[in-house]
Symmetry: C2
């Protein structure tokens, strides 16, 4: 298949290709480069960013093979319409902006007071989170970037490996916390050096591992003894289907003294394009000089951000209303079904993987093989686009990620092809094995207990 | 008046007070600080940011003196409803999100192709700007922050003094380009040392000075000979009422080889709360190593940003439609009237200032007096809130900024009070005097030509 061979190499181009709008950068011959080149040095960090973790250009394949019936289970995107209740609230806000009475200009950079209050009360009920601890934003990825800006580039960080490739390239020293079948996808903290920051995503993208209560307690305790700050990404929390915590603030203190939580309406409310998220920084959290982390973040939000769109915030309010929550639950069930389809990998056992992944993606292990080879084989023989695991870090070698975000029929067709290609395999890892302290029903306990292999 | 005395000092608190949601940062006595304080060092840049330019807490005065009939002409905010055509387009997008056919998830981080195209074609007609040079964002302030992130903190910068206090505190060396009555509010470039970046806002907030074509040519030529990059902020361009350029790309080459332009829908379309802006980085612009600036910015947008809200972008499309542009022109006239009201300072000559300010703010000179003293006097005797000029930098000493963004009746009442307080003064500076190459009508030419004084 055209283009596959060159894709067997790790991606080395820019992210712009992701959206099929690759730009050409040529110098206009009418104005020779030697005359007009600026003397402004390029930021060395940008170089690091280019050479850091990168997603492959899988998304661009649609265009490269226009004749093939390609199905993309690659990048993944939300597909489920937003409940009418929520879109109606947003539309109403739009209309109000055309009236003298309803018009509003700049809002608070930290978000509308009512929405901050509702997030604190609904999402963090009984967790000791106050309205003023909540900062409303345009999304988790943007907030992680602002947190990085606040922290500066001299702090040391630890990140899960694999994990979603946000730009850790800025930081001075990075420790990779390997999350593999060997440690059942939770890092060995006793072997992790002290760092200033610990980025922790749960459920983790791409492994789908949701940390148990005991594991999060261990993490909080580890951070406390090291004087570290956890940056906890709970963007996928709504996919958790068992009793695993949906927030770092569900575990006992000193949770509020060591953790920031970043989250988003993108997945749980289908707001990927609407743009709405939030970050919680408890007022108890301080830097080593005793100064408030929240106050610095407040300053960053006011200086580098001007508030989330008022329309999106109206949507967020509706989502968190009692009726909105019910609508959302229905959508969530749909998404879980979707994930189970892509999870043909798990249900039909065509490959190894976690028995229960709390994510709309499936993380599939092909021990002994290289991610890019598997990616190429699936692409060539099944016409299905996946993401090679190494796009999520060195620890992703041997894996591919299959997205369940997509039109249901397409996901089902892709699963049929994958089963034809790989057949049924029955080797799975049970959640029970790695989820310390989690309870599992007896039926599940009868599933085979083996490390994944193909 | 209660609270005035302490306001006679420059502002030294955090920005959080701006929105009256000041946070208290205390340590919960149940969990002593010595046990839980993290060992994460505070970013030294945050310290710099705290000590940099700061706006006063004027906005908080509403609450401090609830009994007084205070009128705020301080911070300034958009007040004019958005044309129905535009809000209807946004509402339609909201409704579509609740249907299977109309639902869209993540958009391109750089903005929808159609909107990028329309900005290039409508705003930059015949200026050689391509669709791919345009990055759609959630606002100019946010883009300036992302540009700073791209550039890193080792570059040197020049900024107008006074100027709107964005966070230049990050940069290594800062040159202040004084813009005062003495140089007719355009900096003396022959006395400005070379820097990597030159931030230039036109019309300038707060001085209201719109650079003439000849001045911008001079600026571009200065940047070219120094190998500098201009970051041109045209957020207020729609207030320009004469033939001054509304974009840096209106002047001849090498404009595209030396300039980035940042702009926004906030002022010209009333999108302050909706959040939509854009940045233009021509593909011709390169760093000293010949690498593309646009490509690095593209990477920043994809890593630190996830696209502007799809709903806001639909509004932007409607704004730039032929009918939308007409609606906007009407709104613009209204705003100009508003500005002229606040500009009682100019029309009624109650204070010195530029004869024609291309801004909805009036920058008023009180030679020999301190900004904070004037601010206090106006507050105490006229119950009107303004912004002390020093909030915009050391060059703002002796000035106050009066906003024309507000309810028309309130602005008119404030002007009556100001005239009562200061009487009529006839001393003005004519635009002709500082605007090299600009033509002025004969009537205007008969106005007195003097430096401002009270």
């Amino acid at each position: 298949m055209k283009g596959v061979s060159k894709l067997s190499q790790p991606f080395s181009k820019t992210w712009s290709l992701w959206h099929k709008n690759g730009r050409r950068f040529t110098i206009d011959p009418l104005w020779p480069a030697e005359i007009c080149q600026t003397r402004v040095p390029r930021n060395a960090n940008m170089e690091k960013l280019q050479n850091g973790y990168l997603f492959p250009e899988a998304a661009g394949l649609h265009e490269e093979a226009p004749g093939a019936e390609l199905i993309s289970l690659g990048v993944g995107d939300t597909t489920q319409p937003i409940p009418r209740l929520v879109t109606a609230a947003m539309a109403e806000t739009c209309h109000a902006l055309s009236t003298s009475e309803g018009y509003r200009g700049y809002g608070a950079e930290q978000g509308n007071e009512e929405l901050r209050k509702r997030i604190a009360e609904v999402i963090y009920e009984d967790m000791g989170i106050k309205q003023t601890d909540v900062f409303v934003s345009d999304g988790a990825q943007c907030d992680i970037s602002r947190i990085q800006m606040m922290m500066g580039s001299n702090v040391t960080v630890a990140v899960q490996d694999p994990t979603f490739p946000v730009r850790y390239g800025w930081y001075g020293r990075i420790e990779y916390m390997r999350c593999s079948p060997e440690n059942l996808f939770f890092p060995d903290l006793s072997a992790t050096p002290r760092t200033d920051l610990i980025f922790f995503c749960s459920p983790n993208n791409p492994t789908g591992h949701a940390a148990s209560r005991a594991q999060l307690e261990q993490l909080v305790s580890f951070a406390k003894s090291n004087g570290s700050i956890i940056i906890y990404d709970s963007a996928y929390a709504s996919f958790i289907s068992d009793s695993s915590p949906k927030s770092i603030y569900e575990v006992p203190e000193p949770r509020r003294y060591v953790a920031i939580e970043v989250s988003s309406f993108s997945k749980f409310a289908g707001f990927a394009g609407v743009r709405l998220g939030w970050t919680v920084i408890p007022e108890e959290l301080t830097f080593s000089d005793g100064s408030s982390v929240g106050r610095d973040f407040d300053r960053i939000m006011c200086t580098c951000f001007n508030g989330a769109s008022s329309i999106a915030q109206a949507g967020g309010m509706a989502c968190l209303s009692p009726r909105g929550s019910r609508c959302h639950e229905e959508g969530h069930q749909w998404l879980q079904g979707q994930r189970d389809d892509a999870g043909g990998g798990v249900r039909f056992g065509w490959a190894g993987g976690l028995r229960r992944q709390e994510l709309p993606y499936v993380w599939v292990h092909f021990p002994g093989r290289r991610s890019w080879d598997v990616f190429g084989e699936i692409l060539e023989k099944a016409n299905v686009v996946t993401i090679p695991g190494t796009g999520f870090g060195p620890g992703g070698e041997g894996f591919v990620r299959v997205s369940g975000f997509g039109r249901r029929e397409a996901v089902q067709e892709a699963c049929r092809r994958l089963r034809r290609l790989f057949g049924r395999r029955s080797v799975v890892v049970r959640k029970r094995d790695y989820s310390v302290g989690a309870t599992e029903d007896a039926a599940a306990a009868s599933a085979p207990v083996l490390l994944p292999r193909i």
